[in-house]
């Protein structure tokens, strides 16, 4: 019997190694796997490279992981959401790779789909094209971007079953379905864990093949509800 459900975040995260690249889903706090991040804080892995659209909010979650000195580098499109990030970055204690949002998701998609990189017009002629290969295609400038693969992806789903099929709620899909494809090990926290077959096949957004572990984390509302 295939059983991807694990009892706790601690069990799901036990083998995360120092120096891992960790893809973290969510846009703002929606679809953002707070329980898994808390679990990573407890687990103790350090020297991490965190890939997430934002740098978290307030002092818990990613800001706490950064504050504890466990993050070496953050790869982000819009990190200016947490004061902790700005302080550590200004103090030279955190590396930052700033990536346009569409390029960020496409780099992860490329990693998950076995694509060795792609040319995009986004960023051409800007500071973010610095040091990258450029090419003119049909008269327009393009920048070459490489795939971005995670050792671990932490995603948040609305429903999950024991095979690892996932659904999302509202705007909670965002980076999650792509990140689920882009890492060696994908761990999902799900608000509702349901029986096999309870999710109609047409509603499965992330097929089970992309998911390795499922942790049930029922909670009432996204945390913090709407803080910033």
């Amino acid at each position: 019997m295939i059983e991807k459900r694990v009892a706790t975040a601690a069990e799901a995260l036990a083998d995360v190694k120092n120096g891992s690249t960790v893809l973290v889903g969510g846009f703002g706090q929606i679809g953002h796997p707070m329980a898994l991040i808390d679990g990573l804080i407890e687990q103790g892995a350090k020297d991490l490279v965190v890939v997430c659209n934002n740098a978290g909010v307030g002092r818990s979650g990613l800001p706490r992981l950064m504050y504890l000195g466990r993050v070496r580098k953050i790869v982000c499109s819009y990190p200016r959401t947490a004061a902790v990030f700005s302080e550590l970055y200004a103090a030279g204690k955190l590396e930052l790779e700033i990536v346009p949002q569409g390029t960020l998701v496409e780099r992860i998609r490329a990693a998950g789909a076995g694509i060795g990189g792609f040319f995009t017009r986004t960023g051409a002629g800007t500071l973010l094209a610095g040091g990258k290969e450029t090419r003119e295609i049909d008269g327009l400038p393009y920048v070459f971007e490489k795939p971005l693969k995670g050792d671990v992806a932490l995603v948040e789903a609305w429903e999950a079953d024991r095979w690892g099929n996932l659904t999302y709620r509202g705007s909670g899909a965002n980076f999650n379905p792509v990140m689920a494809t882009g890492a060696v090990v994908t761990i999902a926290q799900a608000q509702r864990v349901v029986e096999l077959g309870d999710i109609a096949p047409e509603r499965v957004t992330t097929p089970s093949i992309f998911v390795n572990r499922v942790v049930a984390v029922p909670y009432e509302y996204p945390y913090p509800a709407i803080e910033y």
Binding site: I30, R80, P100, T122, Y168, R169, G170, T205, Y221
Partner: protein
């Protein structure tokens, strides 16, 4: 982050709503539109009654409706500014890869963005104030500026210090080169054409000379030869 424009009250908010209303009036039925943070966010509530315009949000929404009242807010449904929103009948939800295929693939008819500077050749600077920014953040601005079919900018004509945001050449790092087609400010509406800034319309009580005095580049009268 609550959009700065929405925290404002009194004349400043009214001023910004007037700019946003002017943008909203010019959006034809059927367009797919992405709205940036700040004044552009105000546009969605000001589209004339009965006109069907589909507002896209980069985090995976097509067909956003008006802001909810507190009671009916769904905390799982937010826009790019992280504010709760509603959906129109016919709306769809999707992941970031699909969202940025819409944006980067040229499917978005219009993106309305705020700006730090717009140059007379259409260059846009709206993400960073220096090459040594203390905390740079680009979000989806470069994808939108490059990928949407057309870019309009909605912004105050000058900075709080009175410096023109319409310039002959951008001093700040570019978001994208040569993309801005039109600029809406508190002073008027400016088309960006092959010869530079052309003033198409002015706010009530504002003259061509007023706008030129606050513009750090040559201003032309729209459609009028030198």
């Amino acid at each position: 982050m609550r959009a700065a424009a929405e925290r404002m009250v009194g004349p400043e908010l009214e001023n910004r709503r007037a700019i946003a209303a002017s943008v909203a009036r010019d959006i034809p039925e059927g367009w797919h539109v992405n709205l940036g943070i700040g004044i552009p966010t105000l546009v969605s509530d000001l589209v004339p009654e009965g006109r069907e315009v589909l507002i896209q949000s980069e985090n995976g929404i097509l067909g956003m409706g008006p802001a909810p009242d507190d009671e009916n807010a769904d905390p799982w449904l937010i826009n790019a500014g992280k504010q709760t929103v509603t959906l129109l009948k016919g709306a769809s939800l999707f992941d970031h890869a699909t969202s940025f295929a819409m944006i980067r693939g040229g499917h978005i008819d219009l993106c309305v963005l705020g700006a730090l500077e717009v140059a007379e050749n259409g260059d846009l600077a709206n993400w960073s104030t220096s090459a040594n920014d203390t905390a740079p953040a680009v979000g989806g601005a470069m994808d939108l500026a490059t990928g949407a079919k057309r870019i309009w900018v909605a912004m105050d004509h000058t900075t709080k210090q009175g410096k023109s945001k319409l310039v002959s050449a951008c001093a700040y790092p570019l978001t994208a080169a040569g993309v801005v087609k039109r600029v809406y400010t508190n002073l008027g509406v400016i088309e960006v054409t092959a010869r530079g800034f052309e003033l198409r319309d002015t706010a009530p009580g504002v003259t061509f000379e007023n706008v030129q005095a606050h513009t750090d580049a040559r201003l032309y009268r729209f459609g009028v030869a030198d």
